[in-house]
């Protein structure tokens, strides 16, 4: 017997005898090793938060892992970020096409499904590799605030709150314990900040946290300034006591 994959991880389009697509699983592993990204629904909008670790001399004012897709839709990514850019470009074009065809803003689910379809294609064609990135697609549309997760296999699932990237298992447990459906967007932002602290080595400061909101009343994606994140951080540290090893 050859080592584990026995050559079945060479071509993405070939199932192993026990029914697995190794390349797709490896892509999902890439996501698992990425830095954390969190998305939370609240009663007055959605929150996206990510951890970014810039080098000391890196200009830190441009967010690398949260992307605007349309006025009302944002994407947070974990995994191999350049792949996310390609998917986001695609989503932007798709959103505007949808607007031209139907004369209304595209729905979050429609974008999520489109991107997931794209991922699925890249598990079935020879000569391509799967995307090494998972996306949290969120926004406010005709159905209210909405959150979807896509992964390299082409799965897309709606969530109330979700975390991807390294430490996401722990954060998911934390979210399952602390998430409440009737949270305000401020509470959700504090919870998101706490989630980042939980997964990160940095247990204080907000230089490594980026955040965006899409509020229900404005239906616009807005970047949250450092000052405001600091407020959420102080609430988070007080409320959730995440500096202890197993909160």
């Amino acid at each position: 017997m050859l080592p584990a994959a026995a050559g079945y991880d060479r071509a993405i389009t070939v199932f192993s005898p026990d029914g697995r697509l190794y390349q797709v699983e490896y892509a999902i592993e890439t996501v698992r090793r990425g830095t954390i990204a969190v998305g939370i629904r609240s009663k007055d909008g959605v929150v996206l938060a990510v951890e970014e670790k810039p080098r000391k001399l890196q200009s830190n004012d441009v967010t690398q892992k949260i992307f605007q897709v349309d006025d009302h839709i944002g994407i947070a990514a974990a995994g191999y970020i350049p792949d996310a850019r390609s998917q986001v470009d695609n989503a932007r074009f798709f959103s505007q096409s949808n607007r031209l065809i139907y004369d209304e803003p595209v729905e979050v689910e429609t974008v999520a499904k489109h991107l997931a379809d794209q991922c699925q294609q890249f598990t079935q064609y020879a000569g391509v590799r799967p995307f090494g990135v998972a996306l949290i697609i969120s926004g406010v549309d005709q159905h209210g605030s909405t959150l979807y997760l896509t992964d390299p296999s082409g799965t897309y699932i709606p969530y109330e709150a979700v975390a991807i990237g390294s430490g996401s298992d722990q954060v998911t447990d934390f979210l399952e314990k602390n998430y409440k459906p009737d949270m305000s967007i401020e509470d959700a932002s504090a919870l998101a900040t706490a989630s980042i602290y939980l997964a990160s080595d940095e247990k204080q400061g907000v230089k490594h946290i980026k955040m965006s909101h899409v509020k229900k009343d404005t239906k616009k994606l807005t970047k949250i300034q450092e000052k405001e994140i600091e407020k959420y951080a102080s609430v988070a540290l007080q409320k959730y006591k995440i500096d202890k090893p197993d909160a």
Binding site: I101, Y102, D103, E104, E107, T110, Q142, H143
Partner: protein, 199 residues
């Protein structure tokens, strides 16, 4: 062009009222002096909450509405909610503009209620014009004259139906291409109802 032998006249109107829309059309099809049909329906239900009324080539309006009904069903399955009238009008406009150089020879009024009552007029090339009331076809001038005079914002359903009937009947009186009764479709947030009146 031989086409125009098969270009029957028609009158179709649409207007909004407090909580809904009325769409109406007369029932005559005539090829020149020959009256082909006295019972042709030129109002179409596209979804439960959006309807259309057409004037022009009968084949073209039927193909257009059948395609729209099919597209609307798929769209509704995809978005899991009712399709608003502006969106349906835009989809119809795309179908028509696609054929810019070989157009579907029909004018359409799209009207419906998803949220608020809305009326749109489309020409054969696919322009989309929003209106409170509109008329298309060979009798449009007469019908518009009546509605320009009598249309008020926020009418009751009964008033609106009567105005639609009056507009079409006025057109029928002076337009030989229009006649033989009036099909009326009323759409509000409860759905659509249809009935036929004498001219």
């Amino acid at each position: 062009m031989a086409y125009f032998e098969y270009m029957p006249g028609a009158t179709a109107v649409g207007l909004t009222f407090n909580g809904g829309v009325v769409i109406a059309s007369e029932r005559r099809i005539a090829y020149g002096n020959f009256l082909v049909s006295k019972s042709t329906k030129k109002t179409f239900s596209i979804t439960d909450y959006v309807g259309a009324a057409c004037a022009g080539l009968v084949a073209d309006m039927q193909i257009l509405t059948l395609q729209m009904i099919a597209l609307a069903k798929i769209r509704k399955l995809n978005i899991k909610r009712e399709i608003p009238p502006n969106s349906l009008a835009k989809m119809m406009s795309s179908l028509m503009y696609e054929r810019r150089y070989f157009p579907l020879l029909t004018q359409v009024i799209v009207g419906g209620v998803v949220g608020k009552p809305e009326i749109y007029t489309l020409d054969p090339l696919g322009s989309v014009l929003p209106d409170d009331y509109a008329a298309v076809g060979t009798g449009a001038e007469m019908a518009l004259g009546v509605m320009d005079n009598d249309f008020k914002e926020g009418m009751e359903e009964k008033e609106a139906v009567n105005l639609a009937l009056k507009a079409i009947r006025s057109a029928i009186m002076r337009d030989t291409a229009s006649g033989d009764g009036v099909d009326v479709m009323v759409i509000d947030k409860k759905g659509s109802r249809e009935f036929t009146e004498k001219s």
